[in-house]
Symmetry: C2
Subunit: 222 residues, 2 copies
């Protein structure tokens, strides 16, 4: 089994039995999510910005535009924390205290590097697009050189990584199991609504098949 | 119209037309979400941790256990950034470059204060619980003093706040509208699956009505 080596900074200290460092498990969480939250600090003030990302092997690419503040102020080698969270279910216990969530989250620490080479940036955009809708890149107009220049992408290697996972039913105090209250898990999943075509769609343009989209956060809380 | 006053730190600089400072709009986003991402920095390294929260007027309470690292290291008045993101839809354009998301996000900057008084902490837990399942607090066993002590809660006032919102169809380059490719919005919404009762449920315990749960991220991307 291939795992990330916990460091002082990624060793899960609270509820360590929920920790996971297995690479395959980390990759699966990263591949199911599509929005990450990137944290960076300026003059001691942290900022947390949502943005899109995709994984390529042991590297994550993420959209840097939203974090342009960071890029302007810090240049190369910015310390960041990139977090992906999938919520699988509400866990309803018999006591308020033991209410919880079933979730899978990944925290990546490291230095983000701006992607400057056109070929690598193009490949990252390819990954972003097809991570949302497989095959989409191949059917739309490709970026021009100017568009490529206008897009900022950052790369972060998967070295210092931890996952945290909760699954299963509520865990109540022994005496509380006698209480006549409903307890269990309410699974959450992201559903895709009916696609809304753009008003200027060309007549005869093919329809979009929502079945092409990846299932996301699908019932792992059960 | 009551608004938050933008500061140098919360003024949205990229795509400023997506910015919103209206209090009612910020409150609505915070009330629809249930997981926030809290950022804090230790020795210049940012950390971003997902946790539960609820709003009480112009204050947010969030679960501090996951951020216990922060509490241990920093004591009172920790600079944090609390971000809530709702994704409403995938925006599919005719060019790769103009692909986007419909989303609503809120960023709160400030100093988090540990809640130490029992009454305030109990009220925060009450809010957390009923924010997920309205009325749940009233039907489960209340926290003991020991459980209350074992729970850490932080408070963050809504002073330095901004929202960012994208809605509507893709915006393509004029010449791209002639391309015969599907374009439009695929709405996302969180669905609740069939509740999974705990295996030790008391016979005759009432069922849970999923209709009690708030609708989340429901179709605002249309």
């Amino acid at each position: 089994m291939s795992t990330y080596i916990p460091t002082e900074r990624t060793q899960v200290k609270r509820l360590p039995k929920r920790a996971a460092y297995d690479k395959a498990q980390v990759h699966a969480i990263l591949d199911e999510g599509f929005v990450c939250h990137v944290g960076f600090a300026i003059d001691g003030q942290p900022y947390v910005i949502p943005t899109l990302y995709a994984r390529a092997g042991e590297r994550i690419y993420f959209h840097g535009s939203a974090a342009s503040r960071m890029l302007r102020s810090a240049g190369e080698g910015v310390p960041v924390c990139l977090t992906v969270t999938l919520v699988d279910g509400f866990v309803l216990a018999r006591s308020a205290f033991h209410h919880s969530m079933n979730y899978r989250s990944v925290v990546v620490l490291g230095s983000a590097r701006p992607v400057t080479h056109d070929a690598e940036k193009r490949e990252a955009l390819h990954l972003f697009t097809n991570h949302i809708v497989p095959g989409r890149w191949e059917e739309v107009r490709q970026p021009t050189d100017q568009e490529l220049k206008a897009t900022s992408v950052l790369a972060l290697d998967l070295n210092e990584v931890s996952a945290k996972v909760r699954t299963g039913p509520p865990l109540d105090e022994e005496e509380d199991y006698a209480l006549p209250v409903w307890a269990g898990v309410i699974p959450l999943e992201i559903g895709f609504g009916e696609p809304v075509p753009d008003s200027r769609l060309q007549p005869g343009a093919p329809e979009i098949d929502v079945g092409r989209l990846k299932k996301r956060r699908n019932g792992a809380g059960r």
